[in-house]
Symmetry: C2
Subunit: 307 residues, 2 copies
């Protein structure tokens, strides 16, 4: 089951020739989960060849323009391309009136249904068969969420040889064992799933802070992330300004990554004042070695631990 994160936009509040405004696309098999939807996202999707017809959910962290102004144009292009499939949009209070008023004043007709969820409290906001998305309050200058995408734990690998040895005939009983249920074999013995399955396979976890000061509540929420995507708008020397503007620095991101036990830290929301990544990277890597600075169109694949 492939799980790819594509950075469609990695700029801070103002784009640069190299960085478009914030948008991150997680693709899990044929399904897409987008975090933030900055201006220009539709063109970035075209460049990254992501398609506009897939099953898709969009999660907006907060209602600052650089994180949300790509939404109307994306919807218009989907409609022009005759998308039929429902689109789910999640965001803080305000996203509904933003979408309604742009649809009223900029004339376009949707060809597909939108299901809109205004998030009012932290917690699991989206519970799918194979994954959840959870929101936590981030500490920014306006109400803002951090999001965690977590795959659910799946039963371990099924070993047919073990099942046969225990007398379980091939067929429906095998499926029930694979689903984690006990079965009774013809001789009357109970076979438990753990007798024929490997250990349960933990899902993968992607954490995105959105715009956020680096505060404690994110640590537990983002624990053991395979991929931790962290606001790193300004470098350490501008920590005071970062604090004032509701952002983080590389060192703060790196300390959080260490506390969270993250596997990989990606710094994003990079201010236009840094045409090179070196400084930000150096500041973070002093504390957390496995750090990279996001760039537009960068792709990160997370393998299953057991695969």
């Amino acid at each position: 089951m492939s799980l790819t994160t594509t950075f469609l936009g990695t700029a801070g509040s103002i784009p640069t020739p190299e960085r478009s405004l914030p948008a991150i696309l997680i693709q899990r098999e044929n399904e897409q989960v987008m975090f933030d939807c900055g201006e220009g996202v539709q063109r970035q999707m075209i460049k990254a060849k992501t398609g506009f017809h897939k099953k898709m959910k969009i999660f907006i962290t907060h209602m600052h323009g650089d994180h949300v102004l790509g939404l109307p144009g994306l919807l218009q292009t989907m409609a022009l391309l005759d998308r039929k499939r429902k689109l789910e949009i999640y965001g803080p209070v305000g996203v509904k009136s933003f979408l309604e008023c742009t649809r009223e004043t900029v004339q376009f007709v949707l060809t597909f249904p939108i299901e809109l969820f205004e998030i009012k409290t932290a917690g699991i906001i989206c519970d799918e068969k194979e994954y959840t998305v959870q929101a936590a309050w981030a500490n920014h200058v306006i109400p803002s969420f951090a999001y965690v995408f977590t795959e659910k734990t799946r039963p371990g690998h099924f070993y047919p040889a073990k099942a046969k040895k225990l007398g379980v005939p091939e067929g429906p009983l095998w499926s029930r064992l694979q689903d984690g249920q006990e079965v009774i074999v013809p001789h009357g013995r109970v076979v438990k799933p753990e007798e024929v399955l490997g250990k349960p396979r933990l899902g993968r976890k992607i954490v995105y802070t959105g715009d956020a000061r680096s505060v404690k509540n994110l640590v537990r929420f983002g624990a053991n992330a395979d991929l931790l995507i962290y606001d790193s708008t300004l470098d350490d020397s501008l920590a005071d300004k970062a604090e004032e503007d509701g952002h983080s620095t590389p060192s703060q991101a790196a300390r959080a990554a260490r506390k969270m036990g993250a596997k990989l830290l990606v710094l994003t929301h990079i201010s236009a004042r840094y045409p090179e990544n070196d400084l930000l990277l150096k500041q973070a890597q002093r504390i957390f070695k496995n750090t990279i600075v996001a760039e537009d169109f960068m792709k990160i694949e997370i393998p299953f631990p057991e695969d």
Copy 2:
């Protein structure tokens, strides 16, 4: 007096990797006039190094998203960069409520005043000391304007030798002659400006159709354009679809250019179905030789005829 037109976005309704959404920037000395403001325009301006602080007027042709969705992000970036100078925005009815509702729902604080003009009738909508902008109804699927930027006629070159010969002493009388006024020289003789000036210098004229079917009313309006920028969304073989969608084809644009006596025809609003320009160019050049197909960041300088 330099006059440069920069094509910031040349796509049809959907952007492509090569073409951003519609926006055309005329720069006359230190003043900017923008026609349309499609999504991504702020990043295109950054790439083209146009600056965000100059005296500027924006003219929106119509309220389709691909022509207007770049406006909120542009305003936000101007505010983040602490613009102080007033920005003038002209557009059809609807542009005001669009801007108001995005400013209410997407939170940002402007640092500069906006003067907003909703155009309700065709005619001269902006009359500056040295130029005018005129609007004409275009024939599209929703109310839409075409715009003409016209420099005013300036007095001809002043010839000091002629003035001296006629006994006009250097000083204030020269200025009055240069401004086109008669003066009386010390001996009592009246000197007329045409005795010391070359012929009046006609201003330059740039015509932009916006999205438009090719109809007659544009011809008189756009007569003798130095630069005629014309909707050419679809090629000739799709003329029926162009008609239905309210657009034009290369042949239609070329015929209009010939009728208008244009000096140069630029085809724009190019559908994503044309990765190459050859077909559109060929269809237009059969009728009007001096045609080019717009590309993003293309710049066209129009010299003064007499310079």
